[in-house]
Amino acid sequence: MQTHLADWIKDTPEGIAAEAILRKCVHCGFCNATCPTYQLRGDELDGPRGRIYLIKQMLEGEPVSARTGLHLDRCLTCRACETTCPSGVQYGKLVDIGRAVAARKLERPWFDRLQRRVLAGVLPRPWLFAPLVTLGRWFRWLLPASLAAKVPADAPAAGARPPIRHARRMLVLAGCVQPALSPDINAAAARVLDRIGISLVEAEGAGCCGALRFHLDYQADGLQDMRRLIDAWWPLVEQGGIEAIVMTASGCGVTVKEYGHHLAGDPAYRDKAARISAMTRDLSEVLQAERVLLERALETTHETTHETASARLDSRATDKPDARSIAFHPPCTLQHGQQLRGVAEGILSAAGFKLVPVPDAHLCCGSAGTYSLLQPALSSQLQADKVAALQSGDASMILTANIGCQSHLAAAARLPVRHWVVALDERMAEMESFK
Amino acid sequence: MLSPLVDAVRAAAAGGGDGKARALRIAGGGSKDFYGRPTAGEPLDVRGYAGIVAYEPTELVVTARCGTPLAELEATLAASGQMLAFEPPHFGGPPDLQPPHSGGPPGPQPPYSGATATVGGMVAAGLGGPRRQAAGALRDFVLGVTILDGRGEVLSFGGQVMKNVAGYDVSRLMAGSLGTLGIILEVSLKTLPCPVMEETLQFEMPEDKAIATLNRWAGQPLPVTASAWCAGELHVRLSGAPVAVSAARERMGGVRIDADAAQRFWLSIREQSAVFFGAEDALVRPLWRLSVPSTTPAAALDRIEGARLIEWGGALRWAASGTDAATIRDVAAKAGGHATLFRAEAGLRERIGVFQPLAPAALAIHRQLKAAFDPHGIFNPGRMYAEF
């Protein structure tokens, strides 16, 4: 596509990056087909191709108004468009640049600013967020309905963490909101990895990965969060003995994997960030790499088959869905952001779960970080569509891979929604009890 | 020769001494004179402009002039193992059934040695035979035309290639236009290889069950290429690779009928020499052609008295019926289709019209199109609709 970037941005690092991305776009429009907001709104301006155009005209120096800001805000950053794009347009990186420029050029209304400030202030701080969730649970009856739905039911019990006993060790990120909402996830991950001879360790002082503030118009603060996390991890990484950094929330995973990109302009952190990104793995990647060990741990094949068959018979008798029949929701940050498709699903089916087909699995659930709070109308439509799709088969449970999607779906789903590693952990424990 | 036709049209358009344009009745072999409303006008025989202009089997295209006998065209294609897949009916002339050649594929054969049908008439009538249900209509095979319009100009549209979207699709518009838009001088048609093998199965079943069964089969990957139901008997033809045909036969059941008899049977449907078409005297009981969605239940046609024959997987219903035209047309329209007074004495065709009346907006477009092609209204006036 032809571009004429304005002088004020042309030769800056972001201008150069934006131009390179824009030039790859051939305006074919394939991206709109898999864009959740285009599907809902049918307006070019609410699809990736139109947003690319809006960003382009802003960078070309055309006057912009709050409407360009609105269309950029409506983007979920799910990056389904990147999966669809045959031309290799890095939309996610372009929209980061576009939002940063828009934030500089446009003043948001005070309420919008306040909302973002509160979210950016609270969510990344576990010491602040956790007590608020508890308060929210107590005083749910006082909250407006829209917010009340967001406050999760009591957090599931985490269960015991195995002692750090193996020579093979990996770092795990606790995350900011996950410990308060679903402390069972990292505990389950630790138990599953412990069974195959890997111990998970958490670093002191590790906080938010930076994604929350970065995507709330506080890109500089987001980068600060990233540096802080690198600082917390670095001594352990330097020490050696850490094989990888494991991510149990794909939303954090996609961000940490891109630290190298985000901090490329910071000479003090550039190399550390690149090293951290290179070491970062989604939990599914870790287990996939250890597939042999995992399958050995799962080796109770004949019992499994027998037991599954009898479970099916039971379910037919009682007309209830098979307890092991699940609907998997691949988070956008996993399938599009990290381009990991089918990995967690493959592990689950190896463990004896039956995955029911889910229509439109490529579409976002509407959670998208703080999107569900900032764009409630679009978000709840996507949530309703996603829940309907996940519950259209005969699944007895919904599994996913990111805390954001998990709590968002749980607020509307009839079926229980859990992290897949929690289900895997339970399955392994159950099989051990058979042995 | 083209010049005499051009001269005749230009003269007719210019008119006589009074300056009034003279109507022309475009005439070929006359085999389809019965079809459409009667039209007055001075006959203009176009059979002199004849011959196959180009035929390249590997390009799957044949180009022929309007006067070319259809029988000649089909024989030429058959010699290369190809066919006109829409199985155009010839009509007219005495039935002269030829035995299928032994051993080889049962390719289409010129049905009547004395048949008079021409290529131009075939396109102008736009009719298809039994294979239409699977292969498509005549218009689906038209790739290009050269026409002589009402100003006496020779114009070409489309071409000899499989895909062509340059300009409006005037070529396909000519199919079935009954010569009212212009003289079809030359046409290029897509050809297809003859099926390697064909088999016909026979079933006993009532009308409703036949309709349901045909639709069920059509929803499955089965090589059904023709079907006909009449008086409790359903015939279905399968075509294709021997393995596909035999697999389908096993799935569908029925009684396999002898190849010669099958050939004769489908010819009798295509050429309307079957007992059903001949038993009723068109003068007493006109033959109606109802084109409806294939799933239209038999009961939807209850208001039409008389015998019925079903083709095209349920999408074509023939009725030899004395029921009044308004009722028949209403039945067809309610079912989502249309009715044609296919064969009847000329007076009736003139009086009640042949084709389903058009909605006002569509009629206006028809008239304006007619005026664009034939501004003086010289070609076959009234043959399609009394209004133009």
Binding site: C28, L45 | L155, V165, V170, G219
Partner: protein, 492 residues
């Protein structure tokens, strides 16, 4: 803030009229909002529309048309904006009518194998909805993930399987449309034909110039039991072209017969990871479908022909996933070129298959003449070529050279007895070449066809059919297949 090309006063007048008919959020008029609509899939041609309207149903479409007809405002309909000929290029004094919001599947009758859909439904969405019944909608243009059925009707879109399954015109039973005056016209029917002239055939491929599509009934066909695809490598492009003729000569009509040259496969492989043979000068994809044994037989026969014609390697898809992967690469071919070039110009000529070699030599000569690269992707079975001229719109003069290159190729198609467009439409892009392909009288007749539907010339004017004036400017002499048509007749 208005566009210099848009008359603000006129815009305000028309906007006021439309504001009474549609919700405010369905009318875009600020430059910031309308500029992203300035082009369709052909971004080399751009024009900011006076207004963009996004109606949600047929009543709103009718209201817009009646108002525009009344005020003599041109209307350009648009679907997903994926067209490659500029057919949805807006007009500075016109309304761009987006049908993208009308995307409901109104009914799907598996017994009658018919789906009734609104124009904004995506091509692929129809097949997805039909899949549970073992049915699908056959035409599969490469943009099928995104393009809409309304756009397919406007362009008579093809696809990679149309040699066996036909184009849009062969698979659409009925179109409901509105004339510019807002009158409803039913084209075709859900039976196999309709009374009167075949207006449905005329409507399909009319580039939105005769009526605005508000509803389409499409035929669904049963999914073949199995399909398998051969990927054959050739060390010479012309030899691959001959192999195509060889397959047809053997009496086989493959379900798909596609060709890509080396430059194209290399661009595509980076996106699709389809396992294409990157060393081959040309790849042929040949598909057989049907009953498993029948498919095995046809694959064997085709392999034999390909081998005889000098294929250097033959691979047959081993699974449905692999077969889809072979096609995924082919279908993404155009945009994948975005990886190797900032811009591309896609041509769409069709020629008799036997002239393929000659055409390829000609294109190679043009690459040298204009100093531009041109990978090739073909629907080889149909003789439909998609040479992709690579250029950089930021380099002055490259677009101009590209246009000249393309014009020469299109005119060569006509000279070889073919056509300038097989499936993408004339749009704005090939309008000058229409003067070469058709005589003045033929174009006049086509203008008569347009006038029969739209006497005031308001619906997508300036596309498809050039004016006499434009042809005089282009200066091209109408010559068909290298000779003047009917030289024996006196000319007017």
């Amino acid at each position: 803030m208005g566009d210099p090309g848009v008359n603000i006063e006129r815009q305000a007048q028309v906007r006021a009229r439309l504001a009474a008919l549609l919700p405010a959020e369905s009318i875009l008029f600020e430059r910031e909002d309308t500029r992203p609509y300035e082009c369709d899939g052909l971004s080399a041609y751009r024009q900011q529309p006076m207004l963009v309207v996004l109606p949600a149903n047929e009543d709103e479409v009718r209201a817009v048309l009646v108002a525009c007809h009344d005020m003599r405002v041109p209307v350009v309909p648009r679907g997903a904006g994926t067209g490659l000929s500029g057919g949805a290029l807006p007009m500075g004094d016109g309304v761009l009518l987006s049908l993208a919001r009308m995307k409901k599947i109104l009914s799907l009758d598996p017994a009658a194998r018919m789906a009734r859909v609104q124009p904004g439904v995506r091509n692929l969405a129809i097949s997805e909805a039909a899949a549970p019944y073992g049915l699908y909608y056959a035409p599969d243009p490469s943009s099928q993930i995104a393009c809409t059925i309304g756009g397919n009707v406007a362009e008579n879109s093809g696809g990679v399987h149309c040699l066996k399954y036909g184009l849009t015109v062969h698979n659409v039973a009925r179109v409901r449309g509105l004339t510019i005056a807002g009158e409803v016209v039913e084209f075709g029917s859900e039976a196999l034909d309709a009374a009167g002239y075949d207006l449905l055939a005329l409507m399909i491929g009319s580039e939105g110039m005769l009526a605005v599509v508000t509803e389409v009934s499409v035929r669904l066909v049963p999914k073949p039991e199995t399909a398998r695809c051969i990927m054959a490598s050739f060390d010479d492009v012309e030899r691959a072209g001959d192999a195509v003729a060889g397959i047809i000569a053997a009496g086989i009509i493959p379900a798909g017969l596609e060709m890509m040259d080396q430059a194209a496969t290399r661009a595509v492989e980076a996106f699709a990871h389809a396992g294409y043979d990157l060393e081959a000068k040309a790849l042929l994809l040949c598909e057989a479908d049907g009953n498993p044994e029948e498919v095995a037989g046809e694959i064997a026969r085709m392999s034999e022909v390909l081998q005889r014609q000098g294929a250097t390697a033959i691979r047959v898809s081993r699974s449905e996933a692999e077969r889809l992967l072979f096609w995924a690469g082919r279908k993404a071919a155009f945009p994948a070129v975005g990886r190797i070039s900032p811009d591309y110009y896609c041509m769409d000529g069709t020629i008799p298959r036997k002239r393929l070699g000659e055409m390829l030599r000609f294109i190679a000569a043009m690459e040298a003449k204009y100093g531009l690269r041109c990978p090739n992707v073909f629907h080889a079975g149909d003789g439909n070529l998609h040479p992709l001229i690579l250029f950089d719109a930021n380099v002055p003069d490259e677009l101009h050279r590209t246009e000249q290159f393309a014009a020469e190729v299109l005119e060569k198609c006509i000279a070889l007895g073919g056509t300038i467009t097989g499936e993408h439409g004339v749009g704005i892009e090939k309008i000058n070449q229409m003067c070469v392909q058709f005589s003045a009288s033929e174009l006049a007749l086509m203008r008569g066809v347009k006038a029969a539907f739209d006497p005031d010339g308001l619906l997508n004017p300036a596309k498809n059919i050039p004016t006499l004036h434009r042809c005089a400017e282009h200066g091209g002499m109408h010559v068909r297949a290298g000779r003047l048509a009917h030289p024996e007749l006196p000319r007017f």
